[in-house]
């Protein structure tokens, strides 16, 4: 391994060659890769890695006898979060083979049979990687993915800068420092057509130009790693799997706008991302890639990490900057824009994690190459976090303009248990739902906005027929209401009134006129709120009303919940001729409402039933029937 010494521009190519040699597998070398991002760790990755190391140690003589040199490497997330723990075995000169759902036991077998014995456990292998740029390209889930932002995730060890450099890392910075002017860098980013990945899709090159032109001897760049949307984890995966890409992007941005200091604002709930960022910053500083006199060119950039306490509103750029300055995280009106008055009133450029991670690649391969991917007005790729009732939950990086259908059915593998697709909520609490009729919408900034949703940061929550859309809207409204900073009345009070109205509807106490009132109030909140939180907060309600109005009407007029979700509007009973008296419902019922003797027809006591639906899900004989409550809830006038 190369020891850390400060590099100059002239040394960098030789250093990279050294890194490449170290990264490439030499004959006889075997690398075992274990996915140890948060998804892998949550699935038990640490135990699996320990089992692999133990097994290797105990078989040291055999390993040596077989002439193998084995390295265990921890990597970031490949995107197949659903299949974690993932373990790959890579023999020099052969395709890399992937095992999914690995337990410590399976891990030991993999070491014994595959690594030592040379016999892959074929029936446990889920895929092969021949080309690091197109992993699993023979599989539908991966064929349409294009990896730019996630290029290194799942390949390199994020805590080893040599890996990043070996895969072309810091070559963007090298090109810039070798002779591109700040204006030249901005021009290249403009050509690429890159737009902000943090939500609003503002053209990045233009934003940099504003900050570059702003008067001031002190400027800052900021990376927004707050990622507060429920269901979003793209930025976390990038930071955990490839932290240097973000750092290099920020270095290039700082050079372009004339900043010498930067902050990464990362939520404290991402301890692993923060740890890997710290390691990456230390390693980059030790090599002279960060700090003073970078690569001997005189350009200096100091980078800090600021941990946020996990408020959704702190992702809003002005609130985020207030938080960095030690103030309460509340948005303020713009203008002045951060480009003119940001941190400590100095010109500041703020971009999202994914935006920054695109930058080095654009500088290496050219803006024109990037502009060749995607659509007319949305260039490049977007990373989405697929969650909810979809088969392949995980990360997917796709070219802009791909249809929703391709994402849900090809990449996502369709709906779990072959149930019916109902909608996908895009853009988290600020976004909107897209019903089946819009499945062929191309996924780009403008088409999504036209449909009433938005790209947001890239969360996609897929829901099936078992989801009540009123309940879904209520959930997001509860989220934005409790995350509203409380500063301006439309958002603070308006969302509370909307939430109370939705709660009433779900409780069977909806009144005629409620829907129109929700639409009217929603539009007002959007138009009159101070910041993006309030300005988008009603979107989930407005789009569910737009596309699923009949469900709202069923709740209000017929006092029924068609999806059978809202507890006040359903009841559960036993269908006598289907019940086998197996006792499953008794076992799962949390409130003791189900009872009966074994092998005799069971029954459910409506007075005790809390209408959670556990018995309905659990019964193997479809003997539980879900219907309207026997007695309609308290009559509401009107």
């Amino acid at each position: 391994m190369t020891s850390a010494h400060r590099l100059t521009l002239r040394d960098l190519p030789a250093y990279r060659t050294g890194c490449e040699q170290g990264y490439r597998l030499q004959p006889g070398q075997v690398v075992i890769l274990v996915g140890l991002a948060t998804c892998g760790l949550a699935a038990g990755g640490a135990d699996v890695a320990a089992a692999i190391r133990e097994e290797l140690a105990s078989r040291q003589p055999e390993v040596c006898a077989a002439g193998r040199q084995v390295e265990v490497r921890s990597t970031g997330c490949l995107g197949l979060c659903e299949q974690e723990v993932l373990v790959d075995v890579h023999f020099a000169g052969q395709p890399r083979l992937t095992y999914a759902h690995v337990t410590p036991d399976l891990a030991r077998r993999i070491v014994a049979e595959h690594v030592v014995g040379g016999r892959p456990i074929e029936n446990r292998i889920i895929g092969r990687i021949e080309d690091e740029d197109h992993p699993y390209k023979d599989q539908t889930a991966c064929a349409k993915q294009v990896r730019i932002v996630l290029a290194n995730c799942g390949f390199i060890d994020p805590e080893r800068i040599e890996h990043y450099v070996a895969r072309g890392g810091y070559a963007g910075l090298e090109r810039v420092l070798q002779g591109l002017s700040p204006a030249g860098v901005i021009a290249e980013v403009k050509v690429s057509g890159l737009r902000g990945r943090g939500g609003a899709g503002f053209p990045t090159g233009l934003k940099w130009e504003f900050a570059a032109r702003a008067a001031g001897d002190k400027k800052y760049v900021v990376c927004n790693a707050d990622e507060g949307d429920p269901g979003a984890f793209m930025d976390r995966s990038v930071l955990e799997g490839d932290p240097h890409a973000v750092i290099e992007g920020m270095l290039i941005g700082a050079y372009a706008i004339g900043a010498d200091e930067g902050y990464i604002y990362c939520r404290a709930e991402y301890p692993l991302a923060i740890k890997r960022l710290r390691v990456a910053i230390e390693q980059a500083e030790a090599l002279g890639l960060l700090g003073r006199n970078i690569l001997g060119t005189g350009f200096g950039f100091e980078l800090h990490i600021k941990e946020g306490a996990g408020a959704f509103v702190c992702g809003e750029e002005t609130a985020l900057m207030a938080s960095i300055m030690g103030l309460r995280g509340t948005p303020r009106p713009r203008p002045p824009f951060p480009a003119n008055r940001g941190l400590w009133d100095k010109p500041t450029n703020i971009n999202n994690v994914e935006t920054w991670a695109n930058v080095p690649r654009i500088l290496v391969r050219g803006g024109a190459w990037f502009a060749g991917i995607g659509t007319e007005r949305s260039k490049g790729t977007k990373v989405f976090a697929l969650t909810g009732k979809i088969r392949n939950t995980g990360l997917a990086e796709v070219p802009m303009g791909i249809t929703l259908r391709e994402i849900v059915y090809e990449i996502g593998g369709g709906i779990q248990n072959d149930r019916q697709y109902k909608a996908v909520q895009i853009g988290g609490p600020s976004g909107g739902c897209m019903p089946a009729s819009l499945l062929d919408t191309p996924v780009d900034y403008d088409s999504l906005v036209a449909a009433g949703a938005m790209m947001g940061s890239g969360g996609m929550v897929v829901v099936d027929e078992g989801t009540c859309m009123v309940d879904l809207a209520r959930f997001f409204m509860a989220f934005v209401q409790s995350e509203s900073c409380g500063k301006c009345p439309p958002c603070r009070v308006g969302t509370r009134l909307m939430l109370e109205t939705l709660e009433r509807i779900c409780a069977g106490e909806g009144q005629p006129g409620d829907i129109d009132w929700l639409v009217d109030m929603g539009r007002k909140i959007k138009a009159f709120s101070l910041c993006g939180l309030g300005q988008t907060a009603p979107n989930p309600v407005l789009t569910t009303i737009q596309y699923f109005r009949d469900e709202y009407e069923a709740h209000i007029r017929d006092k029924t919940c068609p999806a059978g979700v809202c507890p006040a509007l359903v009841s559960f009973g036993v269908i006598a001729d289907k019940c086998k008296g197996c006792g499953r419902c008794i076992k799962v019922c949390p409130s003791g409402a189900a009872s009966g003797k074994l092998k005799e027809v069971h029954s459910i006591d409506a007075a005790l039933c809390i209408r959670c639906g556990a018995c309905f899900e659990a019964c193997k004989f479809e003997a539980i029937e879900r219907g309207q409550p026997a007695a309609a809830p308290a009559e509401v006038a009107g």
Binding site: R332, P335, G486, C488, P489, V493, G494, F528, L530
Partner: protein
């Protein structure tokens, strides 16, 4: 001129200095824009949304209080959308405001009330929803645990003026927003009573509060703004010379508030704001008293008292020399009074033993 901007507000041409806000330009044009969170002493906050206006070419409405005016801007303050914004803000604020104006201390001196009247917002406008004063979590008991201020957070509209004056102008930072969403409220760190916070009870938050959320404890129940006269005076507590309005009803002082003056710019301290009960105290001395040999006091005239002081000082000076006498001036004295005092000590008595209590 280069540093002047020309723009139009509701069709009226105005010229304003560069750096002016749209609100400033509207004022210059004689157009009134309603505001709740704005105050000239404070930095713009953009919180209340009452001042939203339309600007041609801008995406959405802009807050007049915070948006800088620019040359050629075309501002409209009376469009349907602008009026809808004002009404919406008022409806939402009033929807969670107690409707007890009948007995509220601030009736007649409350912006929320004025605007609700102007825009006919009754508090029952929001889709027939019940008026819900004290949204969860803010349900606050009246805080009157200190001798000066009463805080009724149920009446607070969270405009943030009190917070900002305490931080930006007074520099105490005793209060701030806590919590989020519907439970947001203004309070001290860890919600302790004001007396346990860095609060110095200057009461400037009270002066600047546009509603009845903050009230002076001393004047409660004694009269409301339309029942008392404001008598402009200079505070007698110290030499700073803050302008003060005494609230006078039926010949009695029932309160005081900061007034705009060159020395204080609308701010006062705890003494000027709340220290007026002594004026009408029956214990207050109204003539000089002279102590008799047996230790009792008798009433005297000023001439008698001053003659006594002069003759005793002369006696001491004759017996022990001028340096046996020293003079300490009071912090209540003005500069001019202090000057006269040291002249008296130096020229009339002949000593340099003169000082001022503020140095002690």
């Amino acid at each position: 001129m280069a540093d002047q901007l020309r723009l139009t507000v509701d069709g009226r041409d105005v010229l304003v200095p560069a750096g002016a806000t749209i609100l400033g330009a509207a004022e210059a044009a004689g157009v009134e824009i309603p505001t709740l969170c704005h105050h000239p002493l404070l930095k713009p906050s953009g919180a209340c949304r009452m001042c939203l206006v339309e600007v041609e070419g801008a995406r959405g409405l802009l807050t007049a209080c915070s948006t800088p005016a620019s040359g050629g801007m075309i501002v409209r303050t009376r469009t349907d959308q602008v009026v809808a914004a004002r009404r919406t803000v008022l409806e939402l604020l009033v929807s969670e405001h107690p409707l007890d104006c009948l007995t509220c201390e601030s009736t007649g001196d409350c912006r929320l009330q004025d605007y609700a009247y102007e825009y006919s917002v009754t508090g029952r406008d929001v889709a027939g929803l019940p008026n819900t004063p004290a949204a969860d979590g803010r349900q606050a008991k009246l805080d009157d645990s200190n001798p000066f201020l009463v805080r009724d957070l149920n009446k607070c509209i969270l405009c943030g003026r009190c917070v900002r004056i305490c931080h930006e102008v007074m520099g105490y930072g005793a209060i701030d927003f806590v919590s989020r969403g519907a439970t947001t409220k203004v309070t001290t760190a860890f919600d302790v009573p004001l007396e346990e916070s860095p609060c110095v009870f200057c009461g400037n938050c009270l002066t600047i509060c546009p509603t009845g959320a903050l009230q002076a404890k001393t004047g409660r129940g004694l009269g409301r703004s339309f029942q008392y006269d404001r008598v402009r005076t200079i505070c007698t507590f110290c030499g700073v010379g803050c302008s003060l309005d005494l609230h006078v009803r039926d010949g009695r002082i029932i309160g005081a508030s900061a007034a705009e003056g060159p020395a204080n710019r609308g701010l006062v301290c705890v003494k000027g704001h709340f220290g007026h009960d002594w004026i009408q105290s029956p214990d207050r001395l109204t003539t000089p008293l002279i102590r008799a040999g047996d230790g009792t006091f008798r009433r005297a005239t000023w001439d008698e008292a001053l003659d006594l002081v002069a003759s005793r000082l002369a006696e001491i000076k004759a017996a022990h020399g001028p340096d046996a006498i020293g003079g300490l001036a009071s912090a209540k004295c003005t500069n001019e009074e202090n000057y006269l005092f040291q002249r008296m000590m130096r020229a009339a008595i002949g000593t340099n033993n003169v000082d001022h209590c503020a140095r002690l």
